[in-house]
């Protein structure tokens, strides 16, 4: 089932000095429960695509449709940023509960508590419910950020280079976490990354954008069974292929 259909999305940015075309023609489809990685040369507007989907920016032209074929409402997305963006004055618990407490959701207090506890255990952070973010490691902060985004039950979880600021060990752990969450909750993931290994390890599909003004250059299906081993020849080959498409723009 399609959850997201992008057709001919374009975006032009202008500031005082310059005006430039970031996205020229982005079209792609994302299916329910898929993990899709979005790659491309730096500055090609990968993050802009996510920001448009999340409602933080608007596109200049093109259409975005949801599962019912109507115009896609950004309410159905949640976003995880590179630098977690946790509210430093709120405990882990309150950070996760944040979205649930917004008026649009109309969720009773009791239900929120239950939900937050479920999420805390989903990301293995039960003991840290009352801790403030600055007391956590980078990997733990990002787990909380993921839980906070999952709390509002998004149809699609958008992630903007979510693990690139983490040490290799935490990064690997969180990548496995993403796969596990998809397998248990059926969440759809749309992940911007600049790391070809990450894309090959995580993605069911990899979408590669061209240089600015960008359009979709290549889509690669990754059908290898999980858990994947990046040391296998097939995987090494795939990483090389992806790297080639990204670096040649």
């Amino acid at each position: 089932m399609q959850v997201l259909v992008l057709k001919g999305i374009s975006k032009r940015f202008c500031d005082d000095q310059a005006e430039f075309q970031a996205l020229s023609d982005i079209s792609c489809v994302i299916h329910k429960g898929e993990i899709v990685c979005l790659m491309g040369p730096s500055g090609c507007g990968k993050s802009t695509v996510l920001r448009i989907l999340s409602g933080l920016e608007s596109s200049d032209s093109g259409t975005i449709c949801g599962s019912d074929g109507d115009v896609f409402d950004p309410v159905h997305t949640a976003m995880v940023f590179q630098e977690h963006g946790l509210f430093p004055w709120l405990s882990v618990y309150d950070n996760i509960a944040y979205g649930l407490r917004m008026k649009v959701r109309k969720i009773p207090q009791k239900q929120i508590a239950q939900k937050v506890h479920d999420l805390l255990s989903l990301v293995h952070m039960e003991e840290f419910a009352n801790v403030l973010p600055h007391q956590l490691s980078g990997g733990m902060k990002q787990r909380v950020a993921v839980a906070r985004a999952l709390a509002i039950e998004p149809e699609i979880l958008l992630m903007d280079e979510p693990f690139s600021a983490l040490d290799p060990f935490s990064r690997h752990e969180l990548q496995d976490e993403v796969i596990r969450i998809r397998d248990t909750l059926g969440t759809t993931f749309f992940i911007v990354t600049h790391n070809p290994e990450e894309a090959v390890y995580l993605g069911d599909r990899i979408i590669i954008l061209s240089k600015r003004p960008s359009s979709v250059r290549k889509e690669i299906e990754v059908s290898s069974p999980r858990p994947r081993d990046l040391a296998e020849p097939e995987m090494i080959h795939l990483v090389r292929e992806v790297t080639g498409y990204v670096s040649s723009g």
Partner: protein
């Protein structure tokens, strides 16, 4: 020992000053220039005793504190909302900023003649001076606090479904609060200094500043020194309360 040593170091200079003071006062033998500590200490250890047949040291301190608190709170209730408004709306800031910038460098005490003309001698004019003194630090640090809010926090709030009002309540206010708190701390210090100075002007009839001037007119220098010590102690205690509050409430600050 490691924790005691810095405290001992802090006591060294005051003790040194007191010793020199005492020796000089014994040498000079003139209590109008340097009263001995044997006359200052009794004033301090009997704070409830009436001085010069009037209010005691304690009562005068209480009156001063009460005045400062009223003026300070009045300033906070006006400066914080106004600061939030100016931090939120560029247009509001454009209106308010020039007048604030012109008035800010005027020492609060310079308002005293106008304050007396408008509010008469006494509580009203003192309240006004304290208000002027504490308004600017609170107002400016509230705007500063709004500027320190990360755009990322607002974006996160928006993607999680926050309306503008919810963003204001759940991101802007908590995000700006540490800076506002710093403003309160500064403001209280300024207010305290302004008050004592204002109380020293002719026409007041109570408070620590008044007590000091009254003692001066009677040539009771030991009461002046005792009064100054009390002013200093109240200043340090109130500042510590704000400082402790800062670490308790905003431990997250600067650590994200």
């Amino acid at each position: 020992m490691k924790r005691v040593l810095p405290i001992l170091k802090g006591f060294a200079i005051p003790v040194f000053i007191i010793v020199i003071w005492q020796s000089l006062s014994m040498y000079i033998q003139n209590s109008f220039i340097l009263p001995g500590w044997e006359t200052i200490i009794p004033v301090l250890i009997h704070p409830a005793e009436p001085l010069f047949g009037g209010a005691s040291l304690f009562q005068n301190s209480l009156i001063s504190l009460q005045r400062v608190l009223y003026g300070f709170l009045l300033a906070v209730f006006i400066a914080v909302p106004l600061g939030l408004l100016c931090g939120w709306s560029k247009s509001a800031e454009d209106y308010v900023n020039p007048i604030i910038q012109i008035l800010r460098p005027v020492p609060p005490i310079a308002w005293m003649p106008l304050a007396i003309a408008w509010f008469k001698i006494g509580f009203g004019s003192l309240l006004f001076i304290i208000f002027i003194g504490s308004f600017f630090p609170v107002f400016i640090s509230t705007i500063e606090g709004m500027r320190s809010i990360r755009i990322r926090w607002l974006e996160v709030a928006q993607t999680l479904g926050a309306t503008t009002l919810e963003k204001f309540k759940t991101v802007v206010i908590p995000g700006a609060l540490p800076s506002i708190w710093t403003g309160l701390r500064l403001a209280f210090g300024v207010a305290w200094m302004c008050l004592v100075a204002a109380e020293m002007l002719p026409g007041t009839s109570a408070g620590l500043g008044y007590l000091i001037m009254f003692a001066y007119n009677l040539g009771q220098i030991q009461v002046i020194v005792a009064g100054m010590i009390v002013i200093g102690v109240i200043g340090i205690v109130s500042d510590s309360i704000f400082r402790i509050g800062q670490t308790r409430l905003f431990g997250w600050q600067g650590k994200e």
